[in-house]
Subunit: 231 residues, 2 copies
DNA sequence: TCAAAAGTGTTGACTTTACACCCATGA
DNA sequence: TCATGGGTGTAAAGTCAACACTTTTGA
């Protein structure tokens, strides 16, 4: 890592690094949910005076003995009570003045959760689901982070069976189509959508019908194999 | 960032963060080049005793007053003399024991450079281009980082006019096709390749012919608008 | 004149899109 | 019986893959 041609050891390098141990590293989680045909994101009221009144993503400093992925799972678990959730690293944000307390570099993860999951317990009363379509200014560079994560999800939803993390276990094709429409912000043709999704072979027909709908009920499906944490 | 409901200021938070300022952050650059119909990567002999004899990516600690992107440009510039080069952040690697000197989290970037560029000057005699097809064990988790970057490039080359960064300014369609073949590790049909690349409208016909070839010379092209640094 | 690669189009397979009618259910 | 969405197929357009012959150049 340097041009000096002296052979160094890990120990000598550790010492020479000490000057550099003054950048903090955090993880920010963009936790998406889906409700009322809209994509939502879980935010917490910023507890920093500089951002008072603004909402921010769920984040925390990475602990010295904690893996990055582990930190993101911890944050999610602490805030929602959920484990066993899909999380993916997206990008690292390191602009010099992104944090008013000093140099904090933040690794962004996104996660998709079922808002109606019985296990979901928001553990803080300043924690709320916000419609993506209706967001005010966010603290820090969190709008930037959110945009990047949204972009990533849009790239991935048609390739991988991700969106099922946002839905209850049983769902109809209509619900699934509405979800894709919400994520991609497009209108899809019903017949073509059904053909395409069936071709992917992601779904199992439950031989059950949607209950409590004021019209002809649709069949219910579940996903064959959901993408789960790699931890 | 915490559950305490005391309102904190950036200053008080800065102080409470001090315990956490003991993770170092580095940038590793996967610098790809192309020569003799093969993709190559620029590596340096590891100067750590623990990895003696092994090659490693080009990296350095991020300086306290340095943006992440700026760090990657600095590393590239220091090692190759090149600026004005395409660099993209790919992933951040933070496993606990990835670095023998202590906790070092590394942000990986990839870059594509023209090995024959007149400005290219390798600034260190332990710095060499290695065929991807012919790599030995690398230091740290650098094989992992390299794989991730290669994967990313493969996803992107058909979408964005990236590969032109690997070629001299003027090139023939044969050279371009060989390059795609090297990156994607596939054999492409010449007629289909030409049709497809022309449809993308990335190239300008220079009305010049390839010099010094022992067969019918091909036309030379240059790219219309190369992707350049965002710095 | 030979070897090597340049240049060039068509066909069939497949994928994508657009589009409309009858059916089942609850109110 | 009405309103609502469920369920279904086909044709046209577009994209992709396979494939062969003639031309130009240098040796």
């Amino acid at each position: 890592m340097s041009d000096t041609s002296i052979i160094r050891t890990a120990e000598s390098e550790r010492i020479s690094h000490i000057d550099y141990f003054n950048i903090a590293i955090s993880v920010d989680c963009v936790i998406f949910g889906y409700e009322e045909k809209e994509l939502k994101v879980l935010l917490i009221k910023s507890d920093l005076k500089e951002f008072s009144g603004l909402w921010s993503l769920l984040g925390d400093l990475v602990r010295p003995q904690e893996d990055l992925d582990a930190a993101s799972y911890r944050i999610l678990k602490e805030r929602t009570g959920l484990d066993n959730v899909y999380l993916e690293q997206v990008h690292t944000f390191g602009a010099l003045n992104r944090h008013p307390s000093g140099r904090v570099i933040s690794v962004a993860y996104y996660s998709l959760v079922d808002i109606s999951h019985h296990q979901l317990r928001l553990t803080h009363n300043e924690l709320h689901w916000h419609k993506l379509s209706d967001l005010n200014e966010l603290a820090f560079d969190h709008q930037l982070i959110l945009n990047k994560c949204l972009e990533r999800i849009r790239e991935q939803v048609t390739e991988k069976p991700l969106v099922f993390n946002l839905l209850p276990e049983k769902f109809s094709l209509r619900q699934l189509q509405e979800l894709y429409q919400a994520i991609l912000d497009v209108k899809l043709d019903r017949r073509n959508f059904r053909k395409k999704i069936m071709l992917k072979d992601w779904l199992t027909d439950l031989n059950e019908m949607e209950p409590d709908v004021p019209h002809r009920p649709g069949k219910l499906y579940k996903v064959k194999k959901i993408l789960k944490p790699r931890i």
